[in-house]
């Protein structure tokens, strides 16, 4: 029976691969593949669930696929199926099925028909892997796919400015959540001394024993998980991304941001519930976060005068309530609420264009002129203040761009006054010197020895920031990121014994994608006179294949689970000690900003309004 879980991962995977190779003009086949994939998945699930429930629904676990094994280290893909997975998979496959059928007609003749279904299937893989994951590593694979496919769907209309801008915005917030995931994974290595399976979390005695000994670590892990969950589920202070994600075709907004994607944070909490169940402080924090979010987003939802943002905030506020339910331990209520909310918001978004005729009709027959209630001045003042705050979305969006985007930028700009040659030569020298002294530690002054890894990691972090604010040369921005990976490697080598084989695992993907990306950039620069990072160029309009290749290279370099680098990143963290929070944080920040910077390069060069097209170009504000 356990083996059936395979299907839920392989069906979408096969569907996705097939869909990649269908010619763009064959609308029928493209959508048929998507339809069959989700339909098949749904059928298999329903029949499995039937038998499984009859058998008393025991949790199923599938511990297969060892991806990498080294002394004291094991990277496995592990799957797990229980009530939570079952509900999530049921809702997910049913909605995906309906939305693919819906989109078959809805997207008829739309430019990017194939791209749309490719991305939907890609998303669906990510979703399935996430909800079926049996350990953090597997979950993270799905988690990353969700992030990138979200970006691609938000920026689906890639020739316009706002979708691309908002795509990057949402992606950046997702990456913040990823910091939480990385740090949580890192510390749980130390807590359990192995890659813990979610199945084991159900063992109360075992969990409790570990946490008892490391209560602070336990709380920290839980809080990091909460950060990840809050970012993905649009809780405070991240809520403002949710309405801004509504840039793609309505059905994609409906399943992604109305229902599936946005409930993944809830899933993470449900999945790790046994872990923090006995940390009451954490439960209080989760509950309070949910409460604050639901109140604040409810207020914002009330003042929205556009349909989609109203639904988005209303959904976020219900998810706030679900957080409270999870914190209270009402797992069934939370699952029920999740399913209802997902269906309702999907439906509401899908019929949202009908609202014009429906509500105008209602207004026509039922309008009552507004009455001016006399309220005491002080009450009116509070009322007005809350209204204004809600219109301004409690400054959430400004807050995020100020403390996230602008902060990164201003730090980056502070270190950005060296010219390229200097940077390359200084960093090159540090790198060479670093590797040399690694084997000849006697040359390093004693007081430095303990801080070497941190210093190198921070130097690497500076490189990523430089890449992030680079405005002129995309190649330099690219090189900085490759170099950063070398610095991370060096830093870890200082920290702990990191053998050659591990280094190869880590670097193989970096170099392969590094070279591919660099060559792509070269080709673009040869063909086009003006290529920099000062604006959006929209070259995907002309260089479709190149854009795709470069995107894959970006994903590879960002440690996306398509190259061994993904495992390498996990390996790296296994060499950071439990008490090196600062070091771990700077490494994870490096990796996270890496991803943002790479997406920025990709977006600036290939997305946005095509630079050579001035006629029939969309308004910037459109």
């Amino acid at each position: 029976m356990d083996g059936i879980i395979h299907f839920f991962v392989f069906i979408p995977l096969v569907g996705f691969l097939i869909s990649l190779f269908i010619p763009e003009k064959k609308e029928f086949f493209i959508s048929a593949v998507a339809f069959t994939t989700s339909g098949l998945n749904f059928l298999v699930l329903v029949s499995l669930a039937f038998v499984w429930i009859l058998q008393g629904h025991p949790p199923l676990s599938l511990d297969e696929l060892v991806l990498y094994r080294a002394y004291g280290y094991l990277f496995t893909l592990n799957f797990y199926f229980d009530k939570i997975s079952c509900v999530y998979l049921f809702v997910g496959s049913l909605l995906t099925l309906m939305v693919t059928v819906y989109s078959r007609y809805y997207l008829h003749r739309e430019v990017g028909y194939k791209r749309f279904f490719n991305t939907i299937l890609f998303f669906y893989i990510g979703y399935s892997i996430t909800v079926l994951s049996g350990n953090f590593e597997t979950l993270f694979v799905g988690w990353e796919i969700l992030g990138i496919s979200s970006f691609l769907l938000i920026a689906f209309y890639r020739n316009r400015y706002l979708p691309v801008k908002n795509g990057i915005k949402v992606f950046s917030i997702y990456r913040i959540g990823d910091v939480g995931m990385l740090l949580a994974m890192w510390l749980s290595h130390y807590l359990w001394h192995e890659n813990i399976k979610f199945m084991q979390l159900n063992n109360y005695v075992e969990v409790n024993e570990h946490i008892q000994n490391h209560s602070l670590v336990g709380v920290f892990i839980s809080l990091m998980l909460l950060v990840a969950a809050a970012a993905k589920s649009a809780q405070l202070p991240f809520s403002s991304w949710l309405p801004r994600a509504m840039e793609g075709p309505t059905p994609s907004s409906a399943i992604f941001y109305g229902s599936l994607s946005v409930h993944i944070g809830v899933f993470l909490l449900l999945r790790t519930y046994p872990f923090w169940e006995h940390q009451y402080s954490v439960r209080v924090i989760i509950g309070l976060l949910g409460l604050c979010t639901s109140v604040v987003t409810m207020l914002i939802a009330r003042v929205q005068s556009s349909v989609k943002s109203q639904i988005a905030y209303a959904s976020a506020s219900q998810i706030g309530l679900i957080f409270i339910e999870v914190a209270l331990g009402f797992e069934n209520v939370a699952l029920f609420h999740f399913a209802g909310n997902a269906f309702l918001r999907t439906y509401q978004l899908l019929v949202s264009p009908s609202l014009v005729s429906y509500l105008i009709r209602e207004q026509f027959y039922e309008f009552t002129p507004r009455k001016h209630d006399e309220v005491p001045k002080w009450l009116g003042k509070i009322y007005n203040s809350v209204y204004l705050l809600s219109i301004k979305e409690f400054n959430l969006d400004r807050f995020l761009s100020r403390y996230l985007w602008d902060a990164l930028k201003s730090i980056g700009q502070k270190v950005n006054y060296f010219d390229y040659k200097l940077v390359i030569s200084v960093y090159g020298a540090v790198l060479l010197g670093g590797f040399y002294t690694l084997y000849h530690k006697q040359y390093i002054p004693g007081f430095l020895q303990n801080y070497m890894s941190l210093i190198i990691a921070v130097l690497g972090l500076i490189l990523v920031l430089k890449s992030f604010v680079e405005r002129k040369s995309p190649r330099m921005a690219w090189l900085y990121i490759i170099m950063n990976h070398c610095f991370i490697l060096l830093a870890v080598s200082y920290n702990d014994h990191f053998d050659m084989e591990h280094a190869m695992v880590y670097l193989s993907g970096v170099f392969a994608s590094g070279v591919v990306g660099y060559l792509s950039l070269n080709r673009l620069m040869k063909a086009e006179a003006k290529v920099d990072l000062n604006r959006f160029y929209g070259y995907a309009a002309k260089y479709k294949t190149l854009a795709f290749v470069f995107l894959v290279a970006c994903m590879g370099l960002a440690g996306f689970p398509i190259t061994p680098t993904f495992i390498g990143e996990d390996l790296i963290f296994s060499h950071i000690q439990q008490n090196q929070l600062l070091f771990a944080a700077s490494i994870s920040f490096s990796l996270i900003i890496d991803g943002i910077s790479l997406m920025r390069i990709y977006a600036r060069l290939f997305l946005g309004p095509y630079v050579h097209q001035t006629l029939e170009a969309p308004y910037r504000s459109s």
């Binding site: 819906y102 988005a312 105008i360 007005n384 459109s622």
Partner: protein, 833 residues
């Protein structure tokens, strides 16, 4: 016009801005109009060229698109030769044809709009638009919102600024980020010029700055300008001035600058001198590519027109000796009715059909029972003095609990999502696999209860409601009937049954629903109008009155009103129960004819829909077509006016045997009843703005779907029930979405009038605003001599002879033509039997 450019006159600039901004009303009042109406006082091609240079609009297809059309044989080489020879002379022709086919042109344009304001970014690295627009749009939308937000704008005073002021004065929070600007606002410093002094500094740049600013979001600015001039277009009315929007935006800009740079920043004039070499409205340089594009466009147009004109001369059906008709039917001139008329005539060779503007000459406001407002049912520019009320209606307003706002609240949302939430999955499943009509569907059949009564006759002139006279007096009825009947040439040989059909549409998930209804009824279904018309015509006293005007309607003749739903291809009839005996039986027989015609009409329409197999049986296809109108996932329930290109004003005999696809507006008119053109003038006065407006809106939405159209409708988000935008922070998108125009060929309207050229010219010159459309080439005009069929074409103010060169194919039946092609179909002569 451009004198004293250096002096800033607020009044002058505001006036000019309103002139150039998009003029589209809120969604519920969507009415087609010439998108580039601001340029209409200039010659067509010159105007287009200026619009491109100033605003960056793409106003024609690109050279490559024309060449592609040429390679697909959609532009004929013979016509190219003819057009070029005519425009450039025989000697130069070869050279120009060579240029059209092979020369390389850079079709890059750097529009003048936006240049000045882009200096903020260049010199201050501040993204002004991204900084202020989201908040600006949000405040505007919340202020104007018609019922989306659960929490409305707390104070509505006389105007936007007053309302914001009241809000700001009594609040701990503020829309402004800096105190200085907040204080300025609170102190009532709401003059445009002093604000521009701070921001820009040089008066000669103010006009350009305001244009740059407002054209950074033409959607919202245009809508505000429309609401300013016509506040009633919002049911829940709001006062707002474009001026207020500008003041508020200028304040927000100052606020942004102060926020980012503190008090030290220099106004824009400091950087302007070097980078602005031309003023916004300075003449745009002419270049060869403009000539080439104009030649292509003309060749493209005449490749089709020439066929049409050739066919008209061939159409050999002489007006037969007037015989008794089996029945007569009147339809709107709408291009969507043309094919249906063709099929009705095919199924009953003895019937006769007419076309006239679908409000049937009766202009009034309509108030359905329990309605809180009145709806205008006549062409948009007319302001009626009459009110028609619906009484004894049994209609119920169906609700959809899933659309309730309570689901957005916290606790009711909690309840609803856990209960109705699951039901919605089921509903969605049903609609996807078996679509059916629900409360969310916008359908023409709900416009008026089929079994309700209308207050048509005015008993007492003092009987008024909302300042409107309830119903028409007998004399007023006689006047209206006389002019409609005479203008379409139906003055004798009345059949015993005469139908008048209004038309409307049904669709779901379609914010542009009112663009699908009858344009002559201000974007509403025409059912009330046709019913009012028929009841008037059946009124015995009215018939007596008509006798005095020379129109004798026999007592045995009965007028029957109907509604044709153009999306579903269905009909309903009104007051059927009043028919008895023979008439009722004849009506039942005619209904069968209509049903067959509707099936075949659906079949003909289906050839444009790739997912329907046009070769299957008409009945089966019709079911598919009906499903489309209620399917949530169908962005093209029908294709509306797409491919429209012609308007024929004349007797049906001219066109009856010609297959003109669904591209023609047909207006019946008989020159012999109207030798001086007394009835021709009102017809042309309506044709120009209505058909010309539809045609040019399709034209420009097609050539530049991004700037002049609404782009694809798939990501659209409904804003305040008044417009659509992409995403939540975008500007409103006026114009037509790509799904409506993708099959449209951008051809100007060719109006063909059956009368003597000198009569037409005299008539036109009596109405300068109508004449402008024709003399400036925004609409082509041709005349066909009713006696000898001689063709003339209107060029530079006079009619010149025209000799068509196309060969016309002959077909036995339209079915064989329509089953085999999805694309536009050439003009055919149809020889039934």
């Amino acid at each position: 016009m451009e004198i004293n450019e250096s002096l800033f006159s607020e009044h002058h600039v505001l006036h000019k801005l309103k002139h150039y901004l998009p003029a589209q009303a809120p969604l519920k009042d969507f009415i087609h109009h010439n998108t580039l109406h601001a340029f209409q006082s200039e010659k067509f091609f010159y105007a287009l060229h200026r619009a491109t240079g100033i605003f960056g609009y793409k106003t024609l297809l690109s050279i490559n698109e024309y060449r592609e059309l040429f390679h697909q044989s959609k532009i004929s080489p013979d016509i190219i030769a003819k057009v070029v020879a005519e425009k450039k002379g025989d000697e130069e022709a070869g050279k120009w044809i060579e240029k059209m086919l092979h020369a390389n042109y850079r079709q890059q344009v750097t529009p003048r709009i936006g240049r000045l304001r882009s200096l903020w970014k260049r010199n201050y690295h501040i993204d002004m638009d991204a900084d202020i627009q989201p908040l600006l749009f949000r405040v505007l939308c919340n202020y104007l919102d018609q019922g989306i937000a659960m929490w409305q704008f707390p104070v509505i005073k006389e105007g936007l600024l007053e309302s914001i002021l009241a809000l700001e004065q009594n609040s701990y929070s503020s829309l402004f980020r800096t105190n200085e600007i907040k204080e300025m606002f609170l102190a009532g410093k709401w003059e445009i010029k002093p604000l521009l002094d701070l921001l820009v500094g040089d008066e000669s740049l103010y006009e350009q700055y305001l244009f740059d600013q407002q054209f950074a979001h033409p959607g919202w600015s245009g809508l505000v300008a429309i609401i300013e001039s016509n506040p009633q277009t919002l049911l829940d009315t709001r006062k707002i001035l474009l001026r207020e929007l500008i003041v508020f935006e200028l304040l927000l800009e100052l606020d942004a600058l102060n926020y980012h740079f503190g008090p030290v920043w220099a106004p824009l004039q400091k950087f302007a001198s070097s980078s602005l070499d031309e003023l916004l409205f300075q003449p745009v340089k002419h270049s060869e590519v403009n000539d080439v594009l104009a030649l292509w466009q003309e060749a493209f147009e005449w490749s089709y027109y020439d066929q049409v004109l050739a066919a008209l001369t061939l159409s050999d059906e002489q007006e037969k000796v007037k015989t008794q008709k089996s029945f007569q039917a009147m339809f709107c001139i709408d291009d969507r009715e043309a094919s249906l008329r063709r099929y009705i005539e095919k199924h009953d060779r003895d019937c006769e059909t007419f076309g006239t503007a679908g409000f049937y000459g009766v202009e009034f406001f309509y108030k359905p029972e329990h309605g809180k407002f009145v709806t205008k049912l006549c062409p948009a520019p007319v302001t009626p003095k009459y009110l028609i009320k619906e009484v004894d209606s049994s209609h119920k307003h169906n609700r959809d609990p899933h659309l309730t706002k309570y689901s957005h609240s916290l606790l009711t949302g909690w309840l609803i999502s856990q209960t109705l939430g699951f039901w919605s999955a089921f509903r969605l499943f049903l609609n996807i696999f078996k679509p059916s009509m629900g409360p969310a569907t916008a359908t023409s059949f709900r416009h008026m209860d089929q079994f309700a009564k209308l207050t048509i006759e005015c008993a007492d002139k003092n009987d008024k409601e909302d300042g409107l006279q309830i119903g028409f007096t007998i004399d007023e009825m006689v006047d209206r009937l006389e002019s409609v009947l005479k203008s379409i040439g139906l003055v004798d040989n009345f059949a015993s049954l005469i139908y008048t059909f209004g038309h409307g549409s049904s669709s779901v998930n379609n914010p542009h629903y009112s663009a699908y209804d009858c344009g002559a009824c201000s974007g509403r279904p025409g059912s009330v109008n046709s019913r009012v018309f028929c009841q008037m015509a059946n009124h015995t006293t009215v018939r007596e009155g008509l006798k005095g005007r020379g129109i004798f309607i026999p007592d045995t003749t009965r007028f029957v009103a109907g509604l044709h739903d153009t999306t579903r291809d269905e009909m309903v009839f009104y007051d059927e129960e009043l028919m008895t005996g023979e008439i009722a039986a004849a009506h039942q027989r005619n209904k069968k004819i209509f049903n067959d015609a509707l099936d075949e009409n659906a079949k003909e329409r289906s050839r444009r829909f790739e997912v329907i197999n046009t070769a299957s049986s008409a009945k089966k296809i019709h079911e598919h077509i009906k499903d489309r109108s209620v399917s949530l996932f169908e962005p093209r329930p029908e294709l509306n006016h797409a491919t429209n290109a012609l308007c024929v004003v004349g007797r049906r005999g001219l066109t009856r045997n010609i297959f003109l696809d669904r591209r023609v507006f047909l207006n019946s008119y008989d020159y012999s009843i109207d030798p001086e053109g007394k009835y021709l003038l009102p017809i042309l006065k309506a044709v120009a703005p209505v058909c010309g407006g539809i045609n040019l809106e399709y034209f420009f939405s097609r050539v530049d779907n991004q700037k002049l159209g609404a782009g694809t409708k798939l990501p659209h988000n409904v804003m305040g029930l008044i417009g659509v935008a992409n995403g939540i922070d975008g500007d409103l998108r006026p114009g037509l979405p790509s799904q409506m125009i993708e099959v449209h060929d951008p051809l100007r309207l060719l109006t063909i009038v059956e009368h003597f050229p000198d009569v037409i010219l005299t008539v036109l010159q009596n109405s300068p605003e109508t004449y402008e459309w024709f003399v400036n080439d925004w609409i082509h005009l041709a005349s066909i001599n009713p006696v000898n069929r001689e063709l003339r074409y209107f060029k530079n103010g006079s009619f010149v002879p025209y000799e068509p060169i196309s060969k016309i194919e002959v077909a036995d039946d339209e079915i064989s033509i329509i089953e085999n092609t999805e694309d536009n179909i050439a003009v055919h002569l149809i020889k039934h039997e």
